[in-house]
Assembly symmetry: C2
Homo-oligomer: 298 residues x 2
């Protein structure tokens, strides 16, 4: 009797829920399991239990909320650093999984994992450099640069860039506990809820969405000038709003004023391909986590 073919596990480790999946060597997802994010012990144990049902597991990949230490060789590698999420500050998410499952554990941020998923299997296939921005409760950006997830001293925290904020037009002071009116403080789902008094999903005021498009267009142009990606994928709950993506494109095109003379900034139809929704819908992150397991990219 031959050994069963190897399986690869992925965890999309969010602050609200953990999505766990097992995939075959082709990346096809065979089983998933969703857990609420409670205490670190309970959550990690729940994930371990799911993966233990699949003895052919060869490796797992984790795309986690953060900030998280990604520096190979660091004594706190794989630890969440300081997070507002109660109980999770300084939690080691890698060692307990490795110890319980006895397989290699690949790790990256949730947004890099989503970028990786779209890059391998979605809207970024065949490109060298891709940025993925999620606009949900918070705002985060992951990127694949030169074919590798973007790391550095820690990892990008693009949600916290400052953008122009006209306080006459928008007197809201911003919702970021650190910076007030950074990008996340002005344009996240949480910022919208606090500015307008209702959740983004329930908000129909065209002025609200015009303002949202303005801020996210600044995110697009800053990403363009900072990273020069070949495509920007915008996902997350807030970004699902019908009509938002076209407004972001139109405004970003105007803001960039044709400079530099790349197709997306000089031809509105090229801009449509440049700023795209996620091909994998809500599955970019879990697809990327499975890729982290398969590719050894960490």
């Amino acid at each position: 009797m031959s050994a069963p073919p190897p399986l690869f596990g992925g965890i999309e480790a969010g602050g609200t829920k953990w999505v766990c999946a097992v995939a075959d060597a082709g990346g096809e997802i065979l089983a998933t399991h969703v857990l609420a994010t409670t205490t670190p012990e309970e959550t990690i144990t729940g994930a371990v239990r799911f993966f233990q049902e699949h003895p052919a597991l060869a490796a797992i990949g984790v795309g986690t909320f953060g900030p998280v230490d990604l520096r190979p060789g660091s004594p706190t590698y794989g630890h969440i650093t300081v997070t507002p999420k109660p109980g999770w500050t300084h939690t080691d998410v890698v060692s307990p999984l490795r110890a319980a499952l006895r397989v290699p554990v690949g790790l990256d941020t949730d947004v890099n994992s989503a970028a990786l998923g779209e890059w391998r299997r979605g809207a970024g296939r065949g490109l060298g450099t891709l940025a993925y921005m999620t606009v949900g409760t918070g705002i985060g950006v992951g990127a694949v640069l030169n074919g590798r997830p973007a790391h550095g001293l820690l990892h990008p925290e693009f949600g916290h860039i400052r953008i122009p904020h006209d306080r006459t037009e928008d007197p809201f002071a911003g919702s970021c506990p650190f910076h007030g009116d950074c990008l996340e403080g002005l344009a996240s789902g949480e910022a919208m809820r606090r500015r307008w008094g209702r959740r983004a999903e329930e908000l129909d005021d065209p002025a609200a969405w015009e303002l949202e498009a303005e801020y996210l267009a600044h995110a697009v142009t800053t990403l363009t000038y900072a990273l020069s990606p070949e495509r920007i994928v915008i996902g997350g709950g807030v970004a699902k709003r019908p009509g938002l993506l076209p407004r972001i494109r139109a405004r970003a095109f105007d803001l960039a004023a044709g400079y530099p003379a790349i197709p997306a900034l000089t031809d509105r139809s090229a801009m449509e391909e440049y700023v795209a929704g996620p091909s994998l819908g809500d599955h970019s992150g879990i697809a990327g986590a499975v890729e982290l397991a398969m590719s050894g990219l960490a």
Copy 2:
């Protein structure tokens, strides 16, 4: 008689002058030659003539002003795209050098070349990810990410990011012909000259330098959130102003408000190492151009 040891050429191809150098295999510069940037033909011919005096030349590297097409395989690889510099739009800077000198030609932007120089031989030695910002007539950023110069669809044009601009405090509309008050439009040497009516070198008003530090501190925090570099080197003529670097550091520290909890943002003495002047002084760019010749990084 054995062949002479190979030599490596570098060109720091600026809009005002071209600095040409020949170095030995250890990167030691043996001869330099400076040309005024006039017409493409005259300038390139002048460079060729200098390098022809060194028959042992094995390769040359060019760090050029831009925007420039860096995409390998592109039909316009090595061409300047659209530049305000008269006569240089669509100039091919690579083929004529290769044809005349019959050696491989490495290519990158002037700022990536400076980043590479500092990374190999200066303030970025041993780091994986480094950003180099030049603040002179214009503002540009080069970066080494995951050990490679940052490219992408074109290359970063970080000088054109938008930052907060308080028009009550600073009514100057900005000097960028494309964007008005982008970073370069607010904080370049040209912006200072137009706002204050005199060149940065001749400007002693403390308010002018306070404002300059404010804008460049925004550049530092945005670079941090966008690229997460391990160090940011700030060079260029304007950045030589005594006392400017400490003000930028202090203001960037305050703007970041301790998030994320990396040493540079939570410990003022770590910020001093994080934001540094160029170890190579004015030679970062030419050192990087020689590296482009030696390393085959293009």
